[in-house]
Amino acid sequence: MERKNKLKYDAIVIGVSAGGMEALSVIFPGLPKEFPLSITVVQHRQADSDDFLIQYLNNLSPMLVKEAEEKESLSSGVVYIAPPGYHLLIEEDHSFTLSVDPPVNYARPSIDVLFESAADAFMEKLVGIVLTGASADGSLGLKKIKELGGLTLVQAPETAEHPFMPRAAVQATQIDHILQLNQISPFLLEQFSVHS
């Protein structure tokens, strides 16, 4: 119980677009089953995508990887993936809401929509991460996370399969840490691991 108080952060949100499956499959194998934060991911994909991405990531991750469900409460140690064709938002009671409002940045789910709602829900206890992608989605969301006191991380653009999205994020706001892809899970472990 006591160790919980040492944790400055409650949740991680990740936004990723083109090149995402490879990037996520580098990060998730490095995080243990009992990782003390929840991780919520928007990966841009086709509205009629099946659950291949989720099964694939679940197979190579010690953490449980599942689709985020409407009204479900976030739990630590779980990776939630936004369902295709819906925006995913986080409520102040730390449960999920879905919407079919128009696409934002041509995307549904949109990273900005997740990040901005998560920033309101977790305020300074949120970590936002922008990874590889060919759109500017996520920049405004990361900016809001920073404004509300959260921690901002971006994949080093030169190491991203598609550098446009991390570059846009770096230009939009102050980034706390710019990390190479293979440094991200060691960094998260070091920052948040309960045993260190």
């Binding site: 469900e69 409407e70 009204k71 369902p83 819906y86 925006h87 938002l89 986080i90 409520e91 102040e92 809401t97 879905l98 919407s99 079919v100 409002d101 128009p102 696409p103 549904r108 929509v113 901005e116 709602s117 920033a119 309101d120 829900a121 305020m123 404004e147 509300l148």
Partner: protein, 289 residues
């Protein structure tokens, strides 16, 4: 005080004002998606804060109309989630065909794409002439678009793909008149559809429906309001009536869960259980067993 907390005060005052002035109750909408819509209105109207919406909705009639429109912009497609329509063809239509005449309620029909999809499906199943469809929404400008049935030609590629994936039996273009940049739904599909204004938050039961379709509406409501609307649906269905929700919605955690059985899990199709007989909501119903 944090910005987020101040915004919460603004939102609560605004919703109370709208309710007392206009009777629209948004207080049980899911807060995160509602806030996003309010922020979109703030930016579209060049305002700085959500609280600046309040004087406008109190005094400016046109603004209020625009506000209601902004509170229910959803984007849908004809035959959205084609696998759902395949399941309806396979699992629901054969059952509905056992009735001489059926009533369908499409609740929260928005701009009508999914209503016409159902009309096409019923027509192809040879059943349209024995059907009355009630299509309702609380947004009058969406209803007008639905009633006109005119869609952008740009959307037709997606709609056509969906139609075939949904098990369409002829050519999708048979159902449309195309002109310039628009495609208009054929009048023969409209004749058994009645579009009307109905607010799920405030209005009552629609009686004795055989099929209720309400897709991607409940996701905008909090748990309390979801429960209220689901019991409205339960009371509006005839015994053995079918309820079809959005693919990411469920009744599993709701108060009406024991009163339905699952017809198709992934497609979110449920059937109201038969009760032996007795009083249902004050109306006496005799049911054959």
């Amino acid at each position: 005080m944090k910005r987020t907390q101040i915004e919460n005060i603004e939102i609560e005052l605004l919703l109370e004002g709208i309710f007392r002035r206009h009777g629209y109750d948004f207080k049980h909408y899911a807060r995160a998606s509602l806030k996003r819509r309010l922020e979109a209105i703030v930016s579209r109207q060049n305002l700085n804060h959500i609280s600046e919406i309040l004087p406008r909705v109190l005094y400016d009639h046109d603004f209020m109309n625009d506000f209601v429109k902004g509170m229910s912009v959803t984007v849908t497609e004809m035959f959205r989630d084609p696998f759902v329509y395949r399941a309806i063809r396979k699992l629901v239509i054969p059952f509905l065909k056992t009735f001489p005449f059926i009533k369908v309620w499409h609740a929260g029909c928005a701009t009508g794409e999914e209503v016409y999809s159902m009309a096409i499906l019923l027509k192809e199943e040879g059943f349209y002439d024995r059907t009355q469809i009630y299509a309702t929404d609380f947004n009058r400008s969406s209803l007008r678009i639905a009633q006109e049935g005119i869609y952008s030609i740009k959307d037709m590629k997606q709609f056509t793909q969906n139609y075939y994936k949904a098990g369409g039996k002829t050519s999708f273009s048979n159902y449309l008149y195309s002109k310039y940049e628009s495609a208009k739904i054929q009048d023969s599909l409209k004749k058994n559809i009645l579009f009307s204004h109905h607010n799920l938050v405030a209005d009552g039961v629609f009686g004795e429906m055989n099929l209720i379709i309400c897709r991607n509406v409940l996701i905008y409501f909090d748990m309390d309001l979801q429960n209220r609307v689901l019991s409205l649906f339960h009371n509006s269905l005839c015994h053995g009536g079918i309820l079809c929700l959005g693919s990411k919605e469920s009744i599993r955690f709701s108060s009406v869960w024991p009163k339905f059985e699952v017809i198709a899990e992934k497609e979110k199709i449920f059937k109201k259980k038969y009760e032996n007989f007795g009083m249902v909501n004050g109306t006496e119903k005799q049911v054959e067993i």
